[in-house]
Symmetry: C2
Subunit: 322 residues, 2 copies
Amino acid sequence: MKKKILAIDVGGINIKAGIATEQGKVDEFVEIQTPKSDGPQGVFASILTILRIFNISSNQLNAISIGLPGPVGKDGIIYNPPNLQSWGVVDIPSDLARFLNYPRENIYAANDASLAALAEYKFGNGRGANPMIMLTLGTGIGGGIIIDGKPFTGKNGFAPELGHIVLDPNGPRCGCGRLGCAEAFVSHKGIVRTAWELLKRDKGSIMWSLMKESSNRIIPEVVKDAALLGDPAANRVIELTAQKLGLLLTDLINIFNPERIVIGGGITMLGKLLIEPARKYAIKKSLKRLSRDVTIVKAKFSQKAGVLGAAAMALEKIHNRL
Amino acid sequence: MKKKILAIDVGGINIKAGIATEQGKVDEFVEIQTPKSDGPQGVFASILTILRIFNISSNQLNAISIGLPGPVGKDGIIYNPPNLQSWGVVDIPSDLARFLNYPRENIYAANDASLAALAEYKFGNGRGANPMIMLTLGTGIGGGIIIDGKPFTGKNGFAPELGHIVLDPNGPRCGCGRLGCAEAFVSHKGIVRTAWELLKRDKGSIMWSLMKESSNRIIPEVVKDAALLGDPAANRVIELTAQKLGLLLTDLINIFNPERIVIGGGITMLGKLLIEPARKYAIKKSLKRLSRDVTIVKAKFSQKAGVLGAAAMALEKIHNRL
């Protein structure tokens, strides 16, 4: 009997999971809430629940492969994930192996943005590109780089932190402590900050009334809707964000001479308003010989990116076991 | 009889060459002027001269390996080298093969900064580090990245252009057309520009008198000598340059999670005055988990870096022939 892979994407809000065949097809899919308490043990219990939902036992699994929302070392250890409060440092493969009584060496864990990049490379809009870069623009910026078909993760597995390239040394403070990192501009929080700066000086912006439906919070959806209604402040927010994304893309082209850059994450719901001007800026400003062959595209996957990436990682590891 | 490798480093001013054994030892070394006329043909003629000096004929060579001062594609074609005027686009392996009546497939050509990185990785202060990054700070900024022991050069061979990461979008204009690239600050021309900016406002700087010995030109040596004499303007030039180098190093640590960064090139004659504050800045400002294991060191090689790198590249290619 062919064994299967349990591919899991642990997020701050939901845990998604799928069963993948060794051919990489994910043919079952579930999504449950991430338990708010019990830390890693709560998530491990959720994995048991998922096995029950799939009506499969761990001894039918060739591998368990997990994407995690934080820095994960080459050894599968996660370090202080910002959206999984109080986790600290957790050796996921060892602790989950003990919890499930499953072989540690068949459990793989990696950063979710790296896995999203692998999913686009294996099954999505970055297929076969070398090098391929993926930016996941969400709460922060996640990055993934695939070189010669393999995720590049640096000495300890923590690379690439593409959100922490400084775009403006006089820019706003980033969560990392520096001023003007890409993440301080081209992310959910960056867009919100830029929008508030402009709103303070523009009492007539449509965003003020659109905000009422989101508890008076600015969210990227408000900016998009206002922009499509022709609101100058909202359009300026997107323009400023696109400029910074363009600058980041330019740096990445000059550094990596990539074949493809794939852009995903929640912020891409701004769509062409954001990506087209950024793409034009980058192609114009980067060195010709390095941008000549690059294509910059939207990601194929959104909700399933992590699960597909986890499946792809497991397939690779299983292939190397043989 | 063991065959040998002719390793050549073509610069804008000099051509350096050595004979390397298959063990990588370079035991003969010559340096001649780069001919000012005749373009590539002039350099090819110089290579004939070098063979005569070494008293060796091309059929005794297992490979001819050449470093070139400009963008070189994976195929060995050089594109408009800035310091070899009027070369345009030249297919070095094909043209040299024809000139010497030597097999094209045994001729290798690459960018000199990439080869300097390879030399440090194989024989110098970056030995075995993974990933290893090298910055060559000279007229401009050359970059090299070694991943899993191999130079990373991107899709077409032109990566990494580490000098064209923007450090300040309001900075001075770079040769590439953008504002505030690393190369516009941390290079010979960057240091000269910064020095002039400060000198305009400081008629009492010692640099004014020290300049007299260099035909009233500011050169990095003048800045260094004045700094060592306690000149405030000169110390400020180095401080500002070190800050920008620190910012570049921080970006590189966050992007690559490198094991080692090696800094070479003419500007390193400023020594610890430049590198120590830049190193401290980078360790402080980059993400802890990515900087934890990095060491930042001066290059071992200066004059012979290109020749040693060309030898290392040929050894690698010969190894892959087998």
